[in-house]
């Protein structure tokens, strides 16, 4: 709390604190930039004052004494309890020893600018002590304000006015027009870019004329309120939020809440007045999402629902004035604008439905997906085949989720329950025809991008998928197909719905897998913060679908299939579009390539093919040149990319599971097994492992494993031909470990086979006592080579047994 500075001479040493007000007035600041501007102003203010020795508020929490506000036309900071003087500082510099040669002392005096008499001697060493008296806060602030303004990092800034004749004129988000800077009642005199600080500010653009003189931080908000400006953005947000709700309620409707719109409207107004208007009911035939988007994006209006939850023919706009007529003309004007927008939307809705999606889809050939990966039509073709393949391979099926869904979590702090209880498939009802599902998946995939060329999606790209779903239903396609078209982009983030309907799962997976395979194949992988093709999001989407819908597959073979289909598609396109290329392929390719070849054979042929590709004389189309270059990389890409993708997925899985508290080292431990890339099973292993390693048995077994692994590594052990006890008498602890392994191995193996990883852990747990006892009493590195070999072999066997479940070497701790 600020001790108010009394009287004119507020800076008297009598009072120690005062409140500071800074208002930076400008032309309208974009609403979307205001929140960041507030925190930036606070941070810059603290940095510029602290570096000058001025400490605002309590040292523990300086932020508590600072408030920042925005309106469209001002950026405001109020700091409470600013000390009027900075502390006196005492700076001590250590010099040479008193016994040091004269030159050393002279050098020190030169450096400090002091005379010998001014130095202090302590314990035989010279010290230069400089006391800096405290400075007036007013001076410090006057010095601090210009750099705050000059360094302000607006996302976009501009120059303006006569000063912009010079190249280095001040930049601000929009022209800066005034600065109010007051400490207590006193002006902090400063100047930036020709703008001098003062007491005067402006009120509302239309409700108030002339200057307003601010006395101090305390009367600032009240004086502006009297001039129709609500300085506090949070208060304006509350007015918009409550006012819009109230306007809707008075019309017997319920507002569709939208916090983004609340903030945006509060950022566009200094005196917000929510007003409700109606639009022609006939527009309600347009899908509600379209109406909402039109109202929201183009006009920043809220929409309302009726008591039954249906979209109502009403909107709420937020005016920036208390109009003389109560807002009647404003509402009438806005209604007209919305009507024009909705007529456009209705026109699109009517136009688009005149053309079936299958016809629209033909136009996708004109849209480039990626220079090397062909058109969107090419992509659609691949996605359609991949979606069908996922069904035909039984990876996606219409049987209910196997194993009863995701792992059940045990209440309380105990880690997740044993495992996903897998009972092998086929305990559900007999699935509907696989061919029917495959046909629906293929059809949905063929149509899923068709809405990209509709008028509506051209106008509102955010409606992609959704509109396709509407148009599909309107032309009478089955619901499963329409749903798949609508939802195939999902999930688009951690919070989004994850599809589980089989047709949707097939299309959503195929679309994402094709994108991943394609961009990895052309070596456009994400690096650092750059992920221009949103591949991380695609991978996360695949992971979420696999885990939620419990889709079982070996990722690397799926990737292999997807990459193969990318190459096939590029090849097909070049062959179809370029007769010279087709001739060339026929010449080079001894065995006619056919897309129906199995993946492995295709890969082998690609290898032959690439080997045969030499310099080519005939002129090719530019696209065929690209295709040729790309096809040459096929053997290398097919060899390395599936593994690279699995690694990429492992990393994504770690990120995705972090929130659920799953340890990343355990995920590594399972992936390190190699060949384990069924994410559902991976996670079941990880869950069991996480439960196990936190038990006493688990901790000790891990310790035993690490000890064994260290010894094996130190001894450079590879393979022992000699079994335990061969040529010597096995010690009891040695024999006990052998017996325990004999018992544990089949148990663990069977449990792993049955995907009951908790049971596998339990089987391994019986090794714990014998391995401890072994290390307790048996010398591995015995002088007798037979004993040494036998015991190393035994440790290796122990290590291998544990590896059935996970690579314990990757586990931390």
């Amino acid at each position: 709390m600020g001790s108010q500075v009394p009287g004119v001479d507020g800076m008297s040493q009598m009072t120690s604190n005062a409140d500071f007000l800074l208002e930076l007035r400008s032309e309208e600041i974009p609403a979307r930039m205001q929140a960041a501007a507030r925190s930036t102003l606070e941070a810059l203010f603290l940095a510029e004052t602290v570096s000058r020795g001025l400490h605002v508020g309590s040292p523990e929490d300086q932020h508590a004494s600072i408030s920042v506000y925005t309106t469209p036309r001002r950026l405001v900071l109020i700091a409470r309890d600013v000390p009027l003087f900075t502390e006196t500082t005492r700076e001590e510099t250590k010099g040479p020893r008193t016994s040091a040669p004269e030159q050393a002392l002279e050098g020190f005096l030169r450096k400090t600018g002091l005379a010998k008499e001014q130095l202090t001697e302590r314990d035989g060493v010279w010290f230069a002590v400089v006391e800096k008296p405290g400075r007036a806060a007013a001076d410090v602030l006057a010095e601090a304000i210009p750099p705050i303004i000059r360094a302000f990092p607006w996302p976009k800034s501009q120059r303006w006015g006569a000063a912009s004749l010079a190249p280095d004129s001040l930049r601000w988000v929009r022209p800066l027009s005034g600065i109010v800077a007051l400490l207590g009642d006193d002006l902090i005199d400063c100047e930036v870019g020709g703008i001098r600080s003062g007491y005067a500010t402006m009120g509302h653009r239309f409700h108030h004329h002339g200057d307003i003189t601010i006395g101090n931080a305390d009367d600032y908000a009240a004086k502006l309120r009297a001039a129709h400006v609500i300085v506090d953005h949070a208060e304006r947000e509350a007015i918009v939020r409550k006012g819009a709700q109230k306007a809707a309620a008075e019309a017997g409707l319920v507002l569709v809440e939208d916090e983004g719109l609340v903030i945006e409207n509060a950022g566009l107004t200094e005196w917000p007045v929510p007003l409700l208007g109606r639009f022609d009911e006939a527009f309600l035939e347009v899908p509600p999402e379209v109406i909402q988007l039109t109202a929201r994006v183009n006009q920043k209006y809220f929409i309302c629902r009726d008591s039954a939850g249906k979209l109502a023919n009403a909107f709420v706009c937020t005016a920036n004035i208390a109009a003389h007529d109560g807002g009647a003309m404003i509402v009438a004007g806005n209604r007209k604008v919305l009507a024009a927008r909705l007529s456009d939307a209705r026109f699109f809705w009517e136009q688009d439905r005149k053309t079936p999606l299958s016809v629209q889809a033909e136009k996708l050939a004109r849209i480039t997906f990626h220079e090397k990966l062909g058109s969107v039509a090419d992509k659609v073709e691949r996605v359609a085949k991949l979606a069908r393949w996922l069904v035909e391979e039984g990876i996606v099926s219409s049987s209910p989720k196997r194993g009863g869904g995701p792992a059940q979590l045990v209440e309380g702090p105990v880690p997740p329950s044993p495992t996903v209880p897998h009972h092998h498939p086929a305990d559900g009802p007999p699935p509907p025809s696989g061919e029917e599902l495959a046909a629906q998946a293929e059809l949905a995939a063929r149509l899923c991008k068709a809405d990209l060329v509709t008028e509506m999606v051209g106008e509102f790209p955010e409606l992609q998928g959704l509109m396709g779903g509407y148009y599909a239903r309107a032309e009478g396609l089955p619901d499963a197909v329409a749903d798949a078209i609508r939802d195939h982009y999902k999930p688009v983030g951690q919070g989004d719905d994850v599809p589980t309907a089989p047709v949707t799962v097939a299309v959503a997976l195929a679309d994402k897998l094709d994108t991943l395979a394609g961009f990895f194949a052309i070596d456009e992988k994400p690096t650092g913060s750059k992920d221009p093709f949103a591949l991380r999001r695609a991978a996360l989407g695949v992971i979420q679908i696999l885990l939620t819908a419990q889709v079982r597959c070996n990722l690397s073979s799926v990737f292999h299939g997807a990459i193969t289909s990318v190459f096939r598609s590029v090849l097909d396109r070049a062959v179809a579009g370029d007769p010279n290329f087709a001739m060339y392929i026929e010449k080079v390719w001894k065995v006619q390539p056919h897309p129906s070849l199995p993946a492995a054979e295709f890969a082998a042929r690609m290898e032959d093919f690439a080997a045969e590709l030499g310099d080519f004389e005939i002129k090719l189309e530019p696209y065929s040149e690209l295709a040729l270059e790309f096809l040459r990389t096929a053997p290398a890409v097919m060899g390395s990319t599936p593994a690279a993708l699995v690694t990429f997925f492992a990393d994504r899985l770690k990120v995705q599971q972090r929130e659920a508290g799953v340890r990343h080292d355990l995920i590594d431990a399972v992936f390190a097994l190699g060949g384990e890339d069924d994410l559902v099973r991976v996670l079941a292993r990880v869950h069991a492992l996480q439960a196990f390693v936190t038990t006493e048995d688990g901790t000790n077994l891990l310790a035993g494993y690490k000890r064994a692994a260290n010894i094996l590594k130190k001894e450079g052990f590879t393979y022992s031909p000699l079994p335990v006890g061969e040529g010597y008498q096995a010690e009891p602890a040695e024999q006990a470990l052998v017996d325990a392994l004999d018992a544990a191995e089949p148990g663990a193996e069977a449990a792993v086979e049955a995907e009951d990883f908790t049971a596998a852990m339990a089987a391994l747990a019986i090794l714990r006592a014998p391995i401890d006892a072994f290390f307790e009493s048996v010398t591995v590195n015995d002088a007798d080579p037979a004993k040494r070999a036998g015991r190393l072999g035994l440790l290796d066997r122990f290590r291998a047994a544990v590896h059935k479940v996970a690579d314990f070497g990757r586990i931390e701790g």
Binding site: E27, E28, P30, A31, R32, P72, K156, S157, Q158, R159, W160, G161, A162, A163, S164, L165, A166, P167, V173, R174, P175, S177, R205, F206, H207, L268, T269, Q299, Y301, C317, A319, N320, I321, A323, H324, D325, M329, I330, A332, G333, N334, K336, V337, L338, A340, R366, I367, T368
Partner: protein
């Protein structure tokens, strides 16, 4: 206005609105210019904006510019869209400190009461890739309708604007529809003697839409484009950058017509735009070169 605000009889006709704006901006020291006598897509293309935005000399001007957008033609059947419409353009260099207030004054001058209508400055930055130009500013909303584009030019023809010019572009038909409270552009009163906008322009829209979309000979247009390109380069070599710029305007409009004829593919589109940009930029560079020495002498310390 105040007593009968916004009733049909009191509101300005299209031509009176233009005259009111001329009177207003003339009083603010703007030259009142006439439209440029070439076909162009927007008032910004007028050399009084594009070329005069370059260099250090002060420049204040206002004018009406007929704007041609062939692809927006609707054969006179859409109440809001036209292939030919009017922009009212104001440019003030350097941008005066009270440009927003001046602008609001112009709205008052044509009868918009800011305590009855909700006027808002909503972020909308402007960029013209073909002119190598960009600026920051707003679209100005009146009761939710965009009535003006308000821009502080930062670059023109690839050159930093030193100093910055403020540009206002009013959509005259929209504003008039607003002021006269009509829903169809063709119903606007052009004057107060019974002539509507439709009587002046409806047939024009029908015929020109047909010509733009169906009739215009594409070979002639392509040929015109190539010739304009050649002529522009010749003019630049001859150091007559204003003439070169006229050819850039010509090429830009022919490109828009080719677009309307649907003969330019998506891939070609970018390349044609690049060609127009090169012409416009080259003209701006030529203009800068032509005046550089003079400007440097007159404004010590100024550099391009």
């Amino acid at each position: 206005m105040a007593d009968t605000a916004n009733t049909a009889s009191a509101s300005l006709s299209v031509q009176d609105m233009i005259l009111a704006l001329h009177a207003y901006w003339g009083a603010q020291g703007c030259l009142i210019l006439q439209p440029y006598d070439m076909r162009m897509g927007a008032g910004t293309f007028h050399p009084a904006t594009t070329l005069r935005a370059l260099g250090p000399s002060p420049w204040n001007a206002a004018y009406v510019q007929p704007s041609r957008r062939p692809t927006d033609g609707r054969y006179g059947e859409n109440p809001n869209r036209l292939q030919h419409y009017y922009q009212y353009q104001v440019i003030m260099k350097p941008s005066p400190p009270d440009l927003q207030a001046l602008y609001l004054g112009s709205l008052a001058a044509i009868g918009i009461d800011p305590l009855l209508h909700d006027i808002r400055f909503v972020e909308d930055d402007w960029e013209s890739p073909t002119l190598g130009a960009w600026g920051l500013g707003w679209e100005v909303w009146c009761d939710g309708m965009e009535v003006t584009q308000f821009t502080y030019f930062q670059q023109m023809g690839g050159f930093d604007c030193k100093p910055v010019a403020g540009e206002l572009t009013y959509g005259l038909e929209r504003l008039a529809m607003y002021i006269q409270n009509v829903d169809n552009v063709y119903d606007l009163r052009f004057n107060n003697h019974g002539v509507s906008y439709g009587e002046v322009f409806l047939e024009n829209e029908r015929q020109m839409s047909k010509w733009n979309f169906e009739v215009a000979d594409t070979e002639t247009l392509f040929e015109g484009f190539r010739r304009a390109e050649v002529e522009c380069r010749k003019a630049l070599e001859a150091k007559v950058p204003i003439a070169a710029y006229e050819q850039a305007i010509e090429a830009s409009h022919l490109f828009n017509l080719l677009q309307a004829r649907g003969v330019i593919s998506v891939q070609e589109r970018a390349s044609y735009m690049g060609r127009v940009r090169d012409l416009a930029r080259g003209s701006c560079e030529g203009y800068m070169d032509r005046y550089r020495a003079e400007w440097e002498a007159k404004f010590p310390g100024w550099t391009a």
